[in-house]
């Protein structure tokens, strides 16, 4: 069923009612130029964008609840929006209607040092949490790559992962409490400052990663950890992907150390980024790189760990192992990883950005298969990402000379093969970016129809009018 038939347009009268709820200056209506930035997220490709009819910027849960009630009464879709740094179209209002921007709800409400918890509003920029608590000996372990721009509310909605998931897990591990405005406009408290809580269903588990389809978070209680005192990065060069990938799981199983992160870059990714940066490390001999970060409470321990891992890499075919134990060197080697997207944007703006996740031990197989697909379709597929947790970000780069139509055809062909292989390995098509509307048609590759039906049942029960972020993850 298509959802858009039943929705009503936002009339000037409804816009006035919205202004009555949040104040006139926090409503953008009838101004295409100002509405345009709310029509897309970070996905390149206009086909995923859609203009909202009105943008509303509420300040608190009561205002959000009033907006949701109005939207249900008038049958207008509502799309929540964080910083717009998403990569699945979660914040794109594909049926128009209201975009509910959370940027004004950006206060840190309470730092509870005794409980090692922090209560924040959803519009707080993720990295600001650590900035705020850095002198208390505590830190928030969520570490998405966009942490300097993304909002914590978006992290919770997408169950953001990032580079440090192998040691610290993903966002869901740290969400203890949520104040939620339901799709029908009720304010409900879930969980709280509790490490354990079994009063009923695990509703926080359901909400985290619901991609803005089941509730709008207005307060978030997060668990904090004691800060690490030392951190060292190792940049390890290998002859090829197979050698690099075979090391990854052994670092944990044989050496017995769980690094904070293990980032992988294949041949194509290494060459692209190093050429772009005029890097002088001997990358031309290197078919793959691992960027391993070790952290810990004590400097000597971290030193022992990095030596053990470094030695293991050298014993198992690493061409060279570089060590960064200070900011200057660390920035230099992380630059290679961080400039990956930029480097390939310089080659072609037409790209497919994938977020495949497979069981950690199958990453090597996946990377090898990606290489075969690249050869078969004659495209560049730089593969890089969070090797240790099985999450590989592949970019599929169009040849500059291809027409849009040819590119779309080839991309579809590649995705179809890639998703089938993912399913065969027991993987999923998104590890941390989300399904949104970008991947919803591909979801059946990796999950059963029964599973999607279960999601539909939950959605219908909680949002009978299908008002909150409709058309995401699946069609009803």
């Amino acid at each position: 069923m298509t959802d858009d038939k039943k929705y009503n347009p936002v009339t000037p009268k409804i816009a006035d009612q919205l202004k009555g709820i949040v104040g006139a200056k926090y409503v953008i209506f009838d101004d295409a130029e100002k509405l345009e930035p709310y029509s897309h997220d970070e996905i390149s490709g206009r086909e995923y964008a859609h203009m909202p009819e009105v943008v509303v910027r509420p300040e608190n849960a009561a205002e959000v609840a009033a907006i949701m009630k109005l939207a249900n009464r008038e049958m207008i879709p509502v799309t929540p929006r964080g910083a717009g740094s998403g990569l699945s179209g979660g914040a794109v209002p594909i049926y128009g209607g209201i975009v509910l921007a959370i940027d004004r709800m950006n206060k840190i409400i309470e730092l509870d040092r005794e409980n090692m918890m922090i209560v924040v509003e959803p519009g707080v920029i993720t990295s600001e949490i650590n900035e705020y608590i850095k002198d208390c000996g505590l830190f928030y372990a969520g570490y998405p790559m966009s942490l300097e721009t993304c909002y914590i509310g978006g992290n919770v909605a997408e169950n953001a992962g990032g580079a440090k998931a192998i040691k610290y897990g993903v966002t869901s591990r740290y969400v203890l409490g949520l104040e939620v405005v339901t799709p029908t406009g009720e304010i409900v408290q879930l969980g709280g400052k509790l490490i354990k809580d079994v009063s009923g269903y695990n509703m926080i588990g359901l909400m985290v990663g619901s991609e803005g389809t089941l509730g709008f978070f207005t307060k978030i209680t997060l668990k904090l950890l004691p800060s690490t005192k030392a951190e060292v990065d190792l940049l390890c060069l290998f002859k090829n992907s197979e050698e690099a990938m075979s090391i990854v799981s052994k670092i944990m199983t044989t050496v017995g150390i769980v690094p904070a992160s293990i980032e992988f870059m294949n041949n194509c990714a290494v060459k692209g980024a190093c050429d772009y940066l005029n890097e002088t490390i001997p990358y031309k001999q290197a078919g793959a790189m691992l960027l391993i970060t070790i952290d810990g409470a004590e400097e000597q321990q971290v030193e022992r760990d990095y030596e053990a891992i470094g030695e293991f890499c050298l014993d198992n075919g690493a061409i060279e192992v570089y060590i960064a134990d200070n900011t200057t060197t660390s920035e230099r080697i992380w630059n290679i990883r961080r400039n990956m997207a930029e480097a390939f944007n310089a080659f072609s703006s037409r790209q497919g950005a994938e977020d495949i996740v497979v069981p950690p031990a199958s990453v090597g197989t996946m990377v090898a298969l990606m290489g075969e697909i690249a050869e078969k379709f004659d495209v560049m597929i730089p593969a890089y990402g969070h090797a240790a947790d099985g999450n590989i970000h592949t970019r599929i780069i169009s040849r500059p000379e291809w027409s849009d139509e040819k590119w779309r055809q080839i991309l579809n062909g590649i995705q179809s093969e890639l998703y089938q292989l993912t399913a065969e390995l027991g993987g999923r098509i998104s590890g941390e970016h989300g399904i949104g509307h970008k991947r919803k048609n591909s979801l059946p590759y990796v999950v059963s129809e029964n599973y999607i039906d279960m999601l539909r049942t939950i959605k219908r029960a909680m949002d009978p009018n299908n008002i909150l972020n409709p058309g995401k993850i699946f069609d009803l």
């Binding site: 030596e307 570089y322 060590i323 960064a324 900011t327 200057t328």
Partner: protein, 273 residues
């Protein structure tokens, strides 16, 4: 050929905070790193050694924790390092620092080349390199962007060997040649610094780094430290940034012309300054 590289440990630039009351840099709890511009001096020395053989010795003056800067340089490839550290040297300005470092270099002796970074990111003066040359009474080439030793013959007797350099100057490059031994300070253009390797780190950990103080050097103590330094910091202040913004709405040809005229006028004023 023996090359001596003088490096400095500085606070990591991004985390530097100023004490508003005393006007000094707060160093406690701030990460200490090798002065980023010294990395180019380190790389230059290592490349010369790779080409012509010999050894590279790092020296650094500072508190005892500055030893980590020398270890990092050894991890990158230096043969050895010497820390110059003494409470009597604390607070030395660029003149006194140059004097002490020159004495240390004399004690090492038998060197062909002294290399320094362009300047340190904390003091920002760029005076110590030329200062060392002055105390050693040696030729100096600052802002060097390219180096060649065309007639290098032997590792032992390179006295009289010529060094050819290109210097970065305001409107281009200047080519110079001078005889060894001499002092050079290098700019970023000269090379891209290498990264320390695991093997290098392990070697650095094992390397003993001697510490030289007042008893090891032939220095006149009345000429070093805070009291021996001719420089006096009288006042430190934060410059006030005054930006005046004017919005010109480009709504028609006339307003666009107005905006262009304003920009042209501003540009002319900048040129005439």
């Amino acid at each position: 050929m023996r090359i001596i590289v003088a490096i400095k440990q500085v606070p990591e630039t991004k985390s530097v905070k100023m004490d508003e009351k005393t006007g000094t840099v707060i160093r406690e709890g701030v990460e200490a790193i090798i002065n980023p511009l010294d990395l180019y001096a380190i790389e230059t020395a290592l490349r010369l050694r790779e080409k012509h053989g010999g050894e590279v010795i790092g020296i650094s003056m500072g508190p005892s924790k500055a030893i980590t800067a020398l270890r990092e340089a050894i991890a990158m490839g230096f043969d050895s390092g010497i820390l110059i550290s003494d409470s009597a040297f604390a607070g030395s300005d660029t003149w006194a620092t140059s004097y002490i470092l020159a004495e240390a270099i004399k004690r090492i002796g038998d060197f062909s080349l002294v290399i320094c970074g362009e300047r340190a990111t904390d003091g920002d003066t760029g005076q110590v390199g030329p200062g060392i040359a002055s105390f050693l009474d040696l030729p100096v080439a600052s802002y060097v962007s390219k180096i060649q030793i065309p007639n290098f013959k032997s590792q032992i007797s390179d006295w009289g060997t010529t060094l050819r350099v290109e210097r970065l100057i305001e409107d281009g490059y200047e080519a110079l040649s001078c005889s060894l031994p001499c002092v050079i300070t290098v700019v970023k253009e000269v090379s891209i610094p290498r990264l320390p390797t695991l093997r290098g780190k392990q070697r650095a950990k094992r390397t003993e780094i001697p510490v030289w103080g007042r008893d090891d050097l032939d220095v006149d103590l009345s000429k070093v430290g805070v009291n021996g330094s001719p420089t006096r910091v009288v006042k430190i202040f934060r410059p006030k940034v005054t930006r005046q913004c004017e919005k010109v709405l480009a709504k028609d040809d006339e307003s666009i012309k107005e905006a262009v005229d304003k920009l042209a006028h501003l540009y002319l004023r900048l040129l005439c300054r």
